[in-house]
Amino acid sequence: MDVVAAIEDDLFAYALMLGDSALVLSHRLSEWSGFGPTLEEDIALSNMALDLIGQARLCLDYAGKVEGRGRDEDALAYLRDDNDYRNLLICEQPRGDFAVTMVRQLFYAGFMQPCFASLMASRDSTLAAIAAKAEKEMAYHLRHAGEWVIRLGDGTAESHTRTQRALDEMAIYVAEFFTVSAVERRLADAGIAPDPLALRAPFENSITPILKEATLIVPSFAGGQYGGKNGRHGEHLSRLLGEMQVLHRAHPGATW
């Protein structure tokens, strides 16, 4: 009984990690709506945001069910404060220019694609089903962002400078991907979630050739910022949530 309860707490926390990262990153991508560098890319950015909102909804819905206290996806999305959010720090960084957005998407998808691929074999059938859908989406994001990073890195002098800068800015949030929280440790041991450490090689294998082709200097991913998985965030998340939750919180109990 205790073992089951402990696993459920971990499952809840893990589903939040996945859901919160997707939700917060989708928020940043949705800030591009109407601002894409071309009409075609505006549509592509919205597609990626919609993929992530979809993933967030599945994960938060599942988290609510595992928790069993009647919280649905919206209660979890709109009524938690930043220190209850479990997203990766990279997701909450401001939108930045198009180079920041593409580099961030490349890193995130470069990590989440192998993560979901591994999660497809999870002993938890719901997580496995979510992963099967999300893995394909991440593979596409990886391809799309990868092509843009190559184009921007090897484009003009200005785009090269901007992309190298974006790369250096975002690189400090990569180490966090591979930190192993207590929750992830226990779930990995139980065959429910992948061991983040095992995702480092596939991440580097997909990212490095892209950065090289883009003529960019591959940064060291050692060190950097972490804490998101445990609810310790930077300055931006509180503002992001303030905006996202303002209407929902102003009308307690209302349906929309």
């Binding site: 909102i53 938060l60 999305a77 996202m244 209407l247 009308h251 209302a254």
Partner: protein
């Protein structure tokens, strides 16, 4: 709405067309034949279409802004997904329409420049502000409802590429009005504050939406030729009446009041009759003095400007890659 272009004066010099070709062209229009890009067409037909299609496209693009205003604050994840995909559709529709205009010999870049320089117009409805979440309902239900009235006949427009774009657009738009109505319905049966929000949105959007159909028929300038050429099929007043007749019962279903004390059902004509429309407001907004005219253009210009380095990079990279491939092909020989 999007047919506002037809009500603007065409200031270009009139070109004397070959009467034989013109007659053959008009016969094709009368016979409901489709005109395709490489077919002969009178210069005025081409100009009218470029103006109307590009104005329609610009409206889709500028129209993303009032709704984009609420994407990051949508009150539920379901609503957020719906809203984002609706705005995305609008970008798509702008793109389909720009492509249709391009078949007439004008480039996307030129069209975009015409919008940014203020030379080209867009539907003035998008110069109004979206102040509350209920405006997402009102925009979908009323603005898209009015747009659909205009757009369905355009699916039979004589110009093939425009008609085909409109068919695709109407198919995709079918969910837009429904989701707007659903928002209004949810608010109208929600809390007191939510219902007040819905009523306030209807109060602000009702009259501007009636103006979307353009000036009354007596004041409209281009309609005759446009009707003969099968670009336009119904007059502004006909479409406006159709819209009013459809909307009044829907507002009643929602339990909301149309902000018009003079609104009454005319038993004789079988139509709803509204009070007088304040056309001075319409002219004011069209002339640039709406709540958001400057803001909409500033934001659009900002988006264009911020994208320049990205577009430059994509072009530069494509050129480099093409050169590399050519060099590799030569080396392999």
């Amino acid at each position: 709405m999007y047919a506002q272009a037809l009500d603007q004066k065409d200031r270009s010099p009139v070109i004397a067309e070959d009467p034989v070709r013109l007659e053959r062209f008009e016969a094709r229009c009368t016979a409901e034949d489709k005109i395709e890009p490489k077919d002969w067409m009178p210069d005025a037909y081409r100009r009218t279409l470029i103006r109307q299609i590009s104005q329609h496209a610009h409206s889709e693009i500028i129209g993303m802004q009032p709704e984009g205003n609420w994407v990051t604050r949508a009150p539920s994840l379901r609503r957020k997904s719906i809203l984002l995909s609706k705005i995305q559709d609008e970008a798509g529709h702008g793109l389909y329409l720009y492509s249709a205009a391009e078949t007439l010999g004008v480039s996307r870049e030129e069209l975009s420049e015409q919008l940014l320089s203020g030379k080209a117009k867009y539907s003035s409805i998008f110069n109004y502000s979206t102040l509350t979440w209920a405006d997402m309902g009102a925009v979908g239900w009323l603005v898209d409802g009015a747009a659909i009235m205009n757009q369905i006949p355009l699916c039979r427009c004589s110009y093939g590429p425009y008609a085909r774009a409109m068919i695709r657009i109407c198919k995709e738009e079918s969910f837009h009005q429904r989701q707007g109505f659903e928002i209004m319905h949810t608010l109208a049966k929600g809390t007191v504050a939510q219902k007040a929000m819905a009523q306030d949105a209807l109060n602000r959007w009702w009259w501007p939406c009636l103006m979307m159909f353009g000036p009354p028929d007596q004041a409209s300038q281009h309609s005759d030729t446009s009707m003969r050429w099968k670009i336009k099929r119904f007059s502004n007043d006909e479409l406006r009446q159709k819209f009013i007749d459809a909307m009044v019962p829907q507002a009643r279903f929602l339990g909301l009041d149309i902000p018009d004390p003079e609104l009454r059902f005319n038993e004789e004509s079988g139509h709803w009759q509204t009070g007088a429309i304040d056309w001075s407001e319409f002219r004011r907004v069209l002339a640039g003095d709406g709540p958001c005219n400057r803001q909409r253009m500033r934001v659009r210009r900002q988006a264009e400007d911020e994208g320049i380095w990205v577009r430059d990079a994509a072009r530069a990279f494509a050129a480099k890659r093409a050169a590399r491939r050519q060099a590799a092909a030569i080396a392999a020989e």
